[in-house]
């Protein structure tokens, strides 16, 4: 458990003043911070750390605090880039995940940069939720005197583009902070713009910071970040891995096509932990690319330039450019390049554009609005293909140098075409022996309890079961004695019970203490995981009171919200409190990392 031990003055060698200040500090520390502080002090006591108390004290006044809220790792990477560049300039930086940040510390910040992504309907990432809520609460402090900048990451194909970043900036400003540089909102193809933002941001802060900072600043990094072991392969330099198996794991009459994918990481040195994700680069559908070339009357062999490189148009469309996920910027650029006046006009109407884009892939737009457009113009109108992240469904303690994924193939008919998801379609076209570029994205906010005896409740309907398969493999291999309770749901028992035989084995062996399933379409009234949670509410609450960690993975828009509502009801009923208290209870679980979500 994470309660702070009482500081007894009589037992310590500190002066009363030191004792008071230390007690104050200790009370604000998160578990991770306590670990760091203890390591830091232990190290300095042995003379290993040259940073004396004086230097540390003077750095306090002139630290650039960088807070990031990251879901897929992008915001974390951008924040890391900023910290690294700041350190190169000799500035003192505190780089902290919002999840590890004590909101009450906010009132003492003078220089602050917020990097935050947006998900679903304008929601902040899980890890930013606590700070986001705090800023809008009555407890939010006066921030006058603080200088802040905000960077948002988002996807312009969604309605509430970068809304979380906008919210953060609005709130900081409302609390009195000075926004010293205009916020920058970055779309999914953000990477080329990061370096410019880093430099311009530091240009703004550097004069202020150096005015009060002695030379030789330090980067204070949280241990969670440091723990992510660097490997040669990353998003910028992915590993070309071999696919070992692609197996459909839904039955023959299922309405869903879910694929179990096994990928070999042999020779890569890549490691991962349960809770991590795998980034996957994919290849667009050759048939769909050729159809686009035909409808636009373009020669695929023509050379085009992409940044610094030159490729044939066909290769660029296959491997480098986004052709599935549509977004407003494309419509605008394409309409302009192709001289499509009506399309350009429609793109002016945000609501109309949004509903136009809702079910259309870029392929659809090109088929519906073919126009004479140059090969390079087309390339320039498209954005770079982004890798897709999948929650890893295996533990290396079980599968060694393999990594397993559970991929739901997106498919639907419309606009006279059969549609497949970009990456999931690629997975379906893949065979054993094919190669695919991958990298590991660490998921610090979705981790098994450190203590193997702590019980877990896992809620993972649909492909949301993936990380729990990893958790179970891990706990099985580790011989962890903690109880495990899995909630799973999907449309039909006979067709859609993902990993059924494995879960039955875990129930037999006792690794799974219990499993409750909700097959929504097997009876007249639809039943979902949240209904099963409610049904067993007393036991769920009992498990939580016994210290269980609670995990939710899967659909963010509805499932995660419905599950949360069910949890509020359960706590309300079985704790005998009001809804607000129940929210606080769950917020407390979240703050102590006992309620973690991986939703998308």
């Amino acid at each position: 458990m994470t309660t702070t031990p009482q500081l007894l003055q009589g037992a310590s060698p500190l002066t009363p003043d030191q004792h008071q200040r230390f007690a104050e500090l200790a009370s604000t520390l998160t578990p991770l911070q306590r670990m760091w502080v203890s390591g830091y002090l232990a190290g300095s006591a042995e003379g290993a750390d040259p940073t004396g108390p004086a230097a540390a004290a003077s750095a306090e006044a002139a630290t650039l605090t960088i807070l990031y809220g990251s879901q897929t790792g992008n915001a974390r990477h951008v924040a890391g880039d900023l910290a690294q560049a700041a350190r190169a300039r000799g500035l003192t930086v505190s780089l902290t995940d919002m999840a590890d940040y004590k909101p009450t510390q906010l009132k003492s910040e003078k220089f602050l940069t917020v990097v935050v992504s947006t998900h679903g309907e304008g929601d902040p990432p899980e890890s930013a939720e606590k700070l986001h809520t705090f800023l809008t609460s009555r407890k939010a402090p006066d921030l006058s005197g603080a200088q802040v900048t905000v960077l948002g990451l988002g996807d312009s194909s969604y309605e509430f583009y970068c809304q979380a970043a906008v919210d953060f900036e609005d709130r900081l400003r409302a609390l009195g902070a000075t926004v010293v540089a205009e916020r920058l909102l970055l779309d999914v193809d953000y990477e080329d713009q990061v370096a410019g933002w880093v430099e311009s941001t530091l240009d703004v802060f550097e004069p202020e910071l150096t005015a009060v900072t002695p030379a030789g600043g330090t980067v204070v990094q949280m241990p969670g970040l440091a723990a992510a072991a660097p490997t040669a392969y990353s998003r910028r330099s992915p590993f070309l891995a071999e696919i070992g198996e692609v197996q459909k794991i839904t039955g023959r009459t299922s309405t869903k096509d879910v694929r179990h994918v096994e990928i070999s990481l042999e020779g890569s040195g890549l490691t991962y932990q349960p809770g991590d994700s795998l980034g996957v680069f994919f290849r667009n559908d050759p048939e769909a690319v050729d159809a686009v070339l035909q409808v636009l009357d373009l020669d695929g062999a023509q050379e085009v330039t992409l940044g610094e490189t030159t490729r044939t148009l066909r290769d660029a469309l296959l491997d480098d450019l986004e052709l599935t996920q549509s977004y407003p910027g494309f419509v605008q650029r394409y309409a302009e390049a192709a001289g499509l006046a009506t399309l350009a006009e429609m793109a002016q109407d945000k609501a109309a554009l949004r509903s136009f884009l809702e079910e259309r892939q870029i392929y659809d737009i090109l088929h519906e609005h073919p126009a004479p457009v140059g090969a390079q113009q087309l390339v320039d109108a498209l954005r770079k293909m982004q890798p897709r992240l999948y929650s890893i469904a295996s533990s290396q303690r079980e599968v060694e140098d393999e990594v397993h994924l559970t991929v739901g193939v997106l498919e639907w008919d419309g606009f006279g075409r059969a549609h497949l998801g970009g990456c999931s379609g690629h997975v379906r076209r893949s065979e054993e022996g094919d190669r695919v570029k991958v990298y590991v994205e660490s998921g610090e906010h979705f981790r098994l309890p450190q203590d193997p005896a702590v019980p877990t409740i896992m809620v993972g309907p649909g492909t949301g079961i993936a990380p729990f398969r990893a958790f179970l493999q891990e706990r099985d291999a580790a011989g962890a004695e903690g109880e495990n309770w899995l909630f799973f749901g999907n449309p039909h028992f006979t067709q859609d019970f993902l990993y059924q035989v494995e879960m039955q084995g875990y129930l037999r062996s006792g690794l799974l203490t219990r499993m409750d399933v909700a097959f929504s379409r097997d009876q007249a009234e639809k039943v979902y995981v949240q209904d099963r949670l409610r049904q067993h509410g007393a036991e769920v609450y009992d498990w939580l009171e016994r210290g269980a960690h609670l995990y939710v993975c899967g659909d963010a828009d509805r499932m995660a919200k419905d599950v949360h509502a069910a949890l509020v009801d359960i706590v309300t009923e079985h704790r005998g409190v009001g809804a607000e208290s129940a929210e606080d209870y769950l917020g407390g679980l979240r703050d102590t990392r006992r309620y973690q979500r991986d939703v998308y």
Binding site: K248, I249, F493, Q495, L498, Y499, Q500, V501, L507
Partner: protein, 571 residues
């Protein structure tokens, strides 16, 4: 002719088979079936309950066609149950027919019922969440599935002879009374499947706490028709009619067809005639044939547990004497009777009460709409207007019984429109039968039901080639050696050995009183047809007037006659 075995033990000592343990521990067939019904992680039952649900008329099965595919999908097999109803004598009302058909269409994997050789119907592909509702649905129309499988007396067969209406009613009533007298008394079925009240105590005066050593089958028949195939059954009441009245029965005991490949201690066997009893002793004799088998049957080896093996071990005379002692009855000498057929009489016949009966051919007993033969729709339309009843026959066909003259034309019209009356069905097809086998039966070794139509077409072609297109051979196919299609009483019996491979048995007779002998082992359908081609040629040129194929093969020494199964069958 008694087969006395001197000094044979009446009770076989030794470690009991595991089924004996689970019956004893089951608390009168309850086990933990109710808990398993609640388990949503699997479509199946735990190992003990897998056995126990049989006593309530269900077999756990799966779609074997996709078993391997589902293993790669990390899914358990497509587990479901087959539910076999209890329909004594095979008599159903039109209301029952409609309810059963509706249910099959809406709540089973295959969307249809199958009529079986035990004069009942089976739902194939009932998934666990629908099990209780299925029992409720048939219960609502007065049907159940109690004791249609497991180590009990199963559905009692009864002649469906449509000519003798008054006698049929009488023997049918006896089949119902025998069925009820021998039913388990436990209320487990009602408690588990119909939410009935839990009984405070249970007694099983007839079947006993651990029920019978093995399955037990009973028939009631009315000569000259042997369509119940009495020699496949443990206990048989052959009706003796004198001066137009049913006066009593010849009781035949110890028939049974199941065997195990490679185990010569197992064999199909015809029943022995114990003698005549008047009607008033019917239930007492039925009860005590069962209790003697209950107490003397071999509970250490399920392959040696049926009544036929008990008779051969203790001697028929010893068994008979014990039944007489327990029942307080002395068997009189057998009275004469003659069987002349065991096929169904297709088409219309008029009963003695003036109503009409239409027997229709149902290929493989499968009530399903096929291209050009929408028989399921046709039967539904008939059931909607029919005021008599239906009789399921032991040959998997159906009698639309008790049609008043005024309605005969209407029924005829519907039947013809839907392929139920089809003049192109050959005598050969009508005398051919197959068990269910793949894809649902877990015991299947080779195809049977799906194999039959194509194979019969080839046999028909042989008959045409040899110039006897209107003749027939009693031909039966079983997917395994357990005998559901009664291949071991056929003139030509095929028993599945492996995929595409069968054992060919020859030499049964047309009326079903002789077991056919193994002729060639483990051969393909092509080889079987070559053999039949040759043998049919010999039959056509050498047969005596009216001589059937099986009788011809015995007379000419092609195969040896099986008289005493224990010594002759594997000789």
């Amino acid at each position: 002719m008694p087969k006395s075995q001197q000094d044979a033990p009446l009770i076989v000592e030794g470690p009991l088979s595991d089924n004996e343990r689970l019956k004893r521990e089951s608390n009168y067939l309850r086990g933990t079936i109710a808990e398993d019904l609640q388990d949503q992680i699997t479509g199946g039952f735990s190992p003990d309950n897998f056995q126990l649900i049989r006593f309530h008329g269900m077999y756990q099965q799966d779609d074997r066609d996709i078993r391997a595919e589902r293993a790669t999908q990390k899914l358990e097999p497509l587990i479901n149950v087959m539910l076999r109803a209890r329909v004594p004598g095979g008599v159903m009302t039109p209301e029952q027919w409609l309810a059963v058909e509706d249910w099959a269409e809406q709540h089973t994997l295959y969307g249809s019922v199958r009529l079986t050789t035990r004069q009942t119907f089976q739902f194939h592909g009932v998934f666990k969440p629908d099990i209780k509702d299925t029992h409720r649905a048939i219960n609502a129309v007065g049907l159940d599935s109690i004791a249609t499988a497991g180590d009990v007396n199963r559905n009692v067969l009864c002649s469906s002879n449509p000519l003798e209406s008054a006698l049929h009613a009488e023997v049918h009533d006896w089949s119902r009374r025998i069925s009820e007298h021998l039913l388990p008394r436990t209320t487990a079925y009602y408690e588990i499947f119909l939410d009935g009240e839990k009984a405070l105590s249970t007694q099983e005066p007839v079947l006993g706490e651990t029920y019978l050593p093995r399955k037990f089958k009973t028939t009631v028949s009315l000569p000259p028709d042997n369509e119940v195939d009495l020699h496949a059954n443990d206990l048989n009441f052959v009706g003796i009619v004198e001066d137009g009245a049913l006066v009593g029965w010849n009781v035949l005991v110890g028939g049974g067809l199941a065997m195990t490949h490679g185990d010569t201690a197992t064999y199909p066997r015809t029943a022995d005639d114990l003698g005549f009893i008047p009607l008033e002793h019917t239930l007492a004799v039925a009860e005590h044939v069962v209790t003697v088998q209950r107490d003397w049957g071999n509970r250490t080896d399920r392959k040696n547990a049926k009544t036929k093996y008990t008779l051969d071990r203790v001697g028929t005379d010893v068994f008979k004497a014990e039944v007489e002692r327990r029942a307080g009855v002395t068997f009189e000498p057998s009275r004469p009777y003659t069987f002349t057929s065991r096929g169904d009489r297709f088409g219309w016949v008029k009963g003695t009460d003036g109503t009409w009966h239409l027997t229709v051919f149902i290929l493989n007993g499968r009530v399903r709409d096929e291209e050009g033969r929408p028989i399921k729709t046709g039967l539904r339309k008939i059931a909607e207007v029919h005021r008599g009843h239906f009789r399921l026959t032991a040959n998997q066909n159906l009698v639309i019984a008790g049609v008043p003259t005024a309605q005969k034309r209407t029924i005829e019209r519907i039947a013809r429109q839907h392929g139920l009356v089809d003049d192109t069905v050959t005598p050969q097809l009508r005398n051919s039968m197959a068990c269910v086998s793949f894809p649902t039966c877990p015991l299947a070794m080779a195809e049977s039901e799906r194999f039959l139509p194509g194979f019969v077409a080839q046999v028909e072609q042989l008959l045409v080639t040899h110039g006897i297109p209107d003749d027939h051979i009693v031909l039966r196919v079983s997917g395994c050696p357990n005998g559901c299609s009664r291949a071991m009483l056929a003139e030509v019996g095929l028993v599945g050995k492996g995929p595409g491979k069968y054992n060919l048995h020859l030499g049964g007779d047309r009326i079903g009183t002789r077991v056919p002998k193994l002729y060639r082992e483990n051969i393909s359908p092509e080889v079987i047809l070559e053999e039949l081609d040759h043998l049919i040629g010999a039959w056509v040129s050498g047969r005596e007037e009216g001589e059937g194929f099986g009788d011809f093969l015995i007379r000419t020494g092609v195969v040896a006659r099986v008289t005493v199964s224990r010594t002759d069958f594997h000789a």
